[in-house]
């Protein structure tokens, strides 16, 4: 039986940091199977988690000094929530893993403790029917596991409620920025060439700065300030941060000297760019519904597209007419 260490080594922390920045994220996994934390008896509780190393690390480090079983499912290195959505953290894999690992022989009881965010993939009554094991969904955060275990395995309302704190939002931003890097660099290059060809290198550079600011306003500032920005729609929130950015940039970068078409284009297209990146952040949130995002996109995408095309036309018209 593999034994689990409950303290994290420097390599684990470095790995977690790299995973946040999207470096080698997919290779970050733990072999699935049954693990012993401490010296569990056949009566000890069984916790189930994904083989995403960050989930596994959080779970094992929260179990310091305890004797429990840990059943790690094969989710191909993906966290519980995303794997449950894809179905890899699911009924089929759980049933299979219970069989392969010989769990029924290792424990006397027939109870499993699952993370609440794994529930979209697992049908508890199906698992019961196929294996005899009863499922309790314990808590959302692994950090609440000690309290849950000490509390006589009762889930408090706080353990069951999702949060999206400033800290939780800020750890998501590096990946957003890294993913925006390539398209942003390409667009910036195109903007610089276009700006330089139309007016001159200095104007090309100003355009690039305005654009980069719009990306940051949408992909970083909007997520950070999320609950405080007006509007329910993410596109609206992004447009608000974008508009704030272009207003500040206009005042600070000598916007009074810009031509009328250029100014109009800036105030039209910059909020559109920010809105696009803010809308993109819906993929990282834990409260946006698919139907909501669909509705929002049907309105926002054509609006953004028109804003950008119209801006380009205005700049061109201002140059050639």
């Amino acid at each position: 039986m593999p034994q689990v260490a409950t303290t994290l080594a420097f390599a684990d922390r470095l790995g977690a940091w790299k995973a946040r920045w999207g470096i080698g994220r997919l290779n970050y996994l733990v072999p699935p199977g049954l693990y012993a934390v401490g010296a569990p008896t056949p009566d000890a509780p069984v916790l189930v988690t994904a083989n995403y190393k960050m989930s596994y690390d959080i779970v094992r480090s929260s179990l310091t000094g305890r004797n429990v079983w840990l059943l790690v499912l094969e989710t191909y290195g993906i966290n519980v929530w995303c794997a449950a959505g894809k179905g890899t953290f699911g009924t089929e894999e759980l049933v299979r893993r219970i069989g392969i690992s010989g769990l029924a022989g290792a424990v006397m009881h027939r109870r499993l403790i699952l993370p609440i965010l794994g529930a979209p993939g697992v049908a508890a009554h199906e698992v019961k029917k196929q294996t005899g094991f009863t499922i309790r969904y314990a808590a959302i955060r692994a950090g609440d596991l000690p309290a849950y275990l000490d509390n006589g395995m009762v889930t408090t309302p706080a353990m069951q409620e999702l949060t999206f704190t400033l800290r939780e939002r800020s750890v998501l931003i590096p990946v957003e920025l890294v993913q925006a890097l390539k398209p942003t660099a390409l667009t910036a290059a195109v903007l610089f060439i276009a700006g330089a060809a139309l007016k001159g290198p200095a104007d090309g550079l100003t355009t690039v700065y305005a654009y980069l600011g719009a990306v940051v306003a949408g992909a970083a500032i909007a997520p950070l300030l999320l609950p405080w920005i007006p509007g329910r729609s993410f596109a609206v929130k992004g447009a608000v941060t974008g508009l704030t950015w272009i207003t500040a940039f206009y005042l600070l970068a000598g916007g009074q000297g810009w031509s009328v078409p250029a100014t109009a284009a800036a105030f039209l297209s910059i909020p559109a760019v920010s809105a696009f990146y803010a809308l993109n952040f819906t993929g990282c949130t834990n409260y946006t519904s698919r139907s909501g995002v669909k509705k929002e996109m049907r309105i926002a995408l054509p609006t953004m597209g028109c804003a950008v095309i119209f801006s380009a036309l205005m700049v061109l018209a201002g140059r050639f007419l």
């Binding site: 966290n79 969904y137 999702l162 409260y287």
Partner: protein
């Protein structure tokens, strides 16, 4: 979830109270406290908070809940549309 609310009246969630056997699973798994158990039946008390994760429907032993589950992710939806239009798949997935 305090401080956060998304678009209203969009969720595809449906509860058939007649089929409910009052097992309490839906309120156990819902991370947004959409259900409450009243008069031996589940009831929707917070419809607009539903993020369509599908946990309740998947775990309801009486099949009393229906929801068009999926991830609310703009990039994912764009990719889906592109795929439907037979464009090649773009790189990023949601999770």
């Amino acid at each position: 979830m305090k401080g956060f609310s998304y678009l209203r009246n969009v969720a595809t969630l449906e509860l058939n109270r007649d089929a409910c056997i009052d097992c309490g699973r839906c309120s156990e798994v819902c991370p947004h406290q959409v259900f409450s158990l009243e008069e031996n039946k589940a009831r929707l008390i917070n419809f607009d908070a539903c993020m369509e994760c599908g946990a309740c429907a998947k775990n309801c032993p009486a099949a009393a809940i229906r929801v068009d589950a999926g991830v609310g992710c703009a990039t994912g939806l764009i990719n889906e549309w592109l795929r439907e239009q037979n464009f090649y798949r773009v790189s990023k997935e949601c999770c």
